[in-house]
Symmetry: C2
Subunit: 371 residues, 2 copies
């Protein structure tokens, strides 16, 4: 069997377990007969364009185990949008040149839905340019908004962070509420999908019904919010509010947004102080926190299931690559709820690219909590 | 020996280990011959005024072990300022009546410097009113600004939270900085003392020199900050900024403050977005987080030393009470740096009340990091 090289790259926002997938890809590729050497591109697809390829085959088992437990993206990630290959093949020609120069026939792109789009463009361009490249996705996003997968590596750990943080802070606020703070607002990530905000619902057995969840799927109406807040404080002595950064008003405008990125996404953040101001005007002493990068970097409280799934998708991605499953990605399929059982399957990147899975399942609970 | 009852109460901002002290007080008092029953006042001193006393002697060993590991203040805390007993003895007469009605001769107040002030007033009033009360403090504050103690229960856990959070987020930002976020700002608590901000320095072995610390002791000058930020980003590709909520400008005004509490303290919070705006104007994509109550409620990442010290001060406080050490408090005395060795000693509450220990020791390091 003729061996070829594999290149792995990280893309988009990093997670607590993206390096866990990286370590699994490198370890699996090392023992895969069809793979000769494993490169990691520095800063995602940019590393290929700039021919900055890290030689990972020198890494020991010990250093891979350390990598597995390190937050952030060890090889550097990026937010870069490639042109449509039908309009502009120039960067793709450069990419294929670099792949050819290093005998790279397998490219694994570890990212979310924007990255799946990049992977598909790359796959199409390789076909046009007649370069024998197999492109495989490795799913990752804390937002859990990836279509076609039950859950997505990165999300369970961030969800655990949110649930533990709000449970702990609810105990804190509950103890102070007689004479001091009565409302605590925690802002979590989630542009359009409220999975992370909904994860706060796991704190209900600790904090009880004092919790309110404001996901981006439910338009925020001030009067309704204030009325609900008053009911919560009256009943429990305090209230805790978990709000998605992407909370919108009834016209669909973000409550907080400044600037846009390359993908024409608004940069969000800062909705917690807005909600806190409303609570203050309603007469309550209020504190607020913003979990921002802490929620996606919190490897110290990573979910064990998440780490296992991150390993599994990495291993299966290597298998798919050497099987020639071009433009495919591993996904998680749920087999049962209780106990939670799952397996990894393969699906086309088309089913993932540029789609956002909204929070329909969780919304049933969220609406209960909001009302 | 005539036995009397003991009352324990929690006061001021709670910590990850204040319940650890509570459990230790209850367990120690149970086995102290001079103590008959242990009450916990509901919501601090208010619980005595309102005669809301929780009977803790029904609690099992298992429930005390659970209490030990629960964040927040299980019996409720409060922020209440009692009048000067020289001006107004009325509330004190009520307190002594309640103590007398329940044969409470020992009162343990678990709090910071404001609470030490309350405890001293209580002790003075008891003398004036001729009620045989022994008042003992149990130290607690995440700010570490308590005079006369090496460190203060609550601080080591919050410090660990801050150090771990900034280390994790620095790894996150470092991996994104080539094409996305270049500056991350984390706001931590600390009104006048920058111990918590300085604790971020523990992340330097992970994040390296990209860290900047802005403690309240060092007046913030915009031009100097921006120049330092540019140097950091140029050298490391990114920068992380840990800022105390109490950061002041060169005139001594808080950068962010709205409203004041009963102790005439400003309610702070919201300096991170101000610093982030400055970083954005300096040309960098910037993210910011606010740790707020998360940092003091994070029992999931509590420091083992902190938990041990919280137990030790609780146990010693019970001993001091039955020894009649009125208006005393246990403090931590450092015996050696490496390995860190300590013991609990007793000191007068006078040395603690209404004083703030500034961050002089840590400042040497902080200045290094800021410059």
């Amino acid at each position: 069997m003729k061996k070829h090289n594999l290149c792995y790259a990280q893309s988009g926002g990093v997670t607590a377990v993206i390096n866990t997938s990286a370590a699994a890809v490198i370890a699996a590729a090392k023992t895969t007969p069809a793979v000769h050497r494993v490169y990691a591109a520095q800063n995602g697809i940019l590393g290929v364009l700039n021919e900055e390829l890290i030689e990972t085959w020198h890494e020991s088992g010990k250093s891979l185990r350390q990598l597995e437990q390190t937050p952030g993206g060890a090889f550097g990630s990026c937010r870069v949008k490639l042109p449509d290959p039908n309009d502009d093949l120039v960067p793709y020609a450069r990419l294929m040149d670099v792949f050819a120069a290093h005998d790279i026939r397998y490219f694994l792109y570890n990212g979310g839905n924007d990255s799946a789009d990049t992977a598909m463009k790359l796959s199409a361009a390789a076909r046009t340019l007649n370069y024998p490249l197999v492109v495989v996705g490795v799913p990752k996003t804390i937002d859990n908004d990836l279509a076609a997968t039950d859950t997505c590596p990165g999300f369970p750990s961030a969800a655990k962070y949110v649930a533990v943080s709000i449970a702990e802070t609810m105990l804190d606020v509950a103890s102070m509420s007689a004479t001091s703070t009565k409302v605590f607002v925690l802002e979590v990530m989630g542009r359009h999908a409220g999975w992370l905000a909904a994860a706060a619902g796991m704190a209900v057995p600790v904090g009880g019904g004092a919790l309110m969840i404001l996901p981006p799927e439910v338009p925020w109406r001030r009067a309704h919010f204030v009325a609900t807040l008053h009911r919560r404080v009256k009943k429990y002595g305090y209230a805790a509010v978990v709000v998605s950064e992407g909370l919108c008003d009834s016209k669909g405008n973000f409550l907080s947004a400044d600037g846009t990125d390359q993908f024409a996404h608004h940069q969000l953040g800062g909705v917690a102080p807005i909600i806190a101001d409303v609570a203050k005007h309603a007469g309550y002493k209020c504190h607020w926190g913003v979990a921002d990068y802490m929620q996606r970097a919190a490897r110290h409280i990573a979910s064990a299931v998440d780490a296992k799934q991150a390993v599994a998708v990495g291993e299966v991605a290597v298998q798919l690559a050497v099987q020639g499953k071009n433009a495919y990605t591993p996904v998680i399929r749920r087999l049962s709820d209780s106990p939670y059982r799952w397996r990894v399957e393969a699906t086309s990147l088309k089913k993932v690219a540029n789609r956002e899975r909204r929070n329909s399942l969780a919304l049933a609970n969220v609406v209960l909590i909001c009302s």
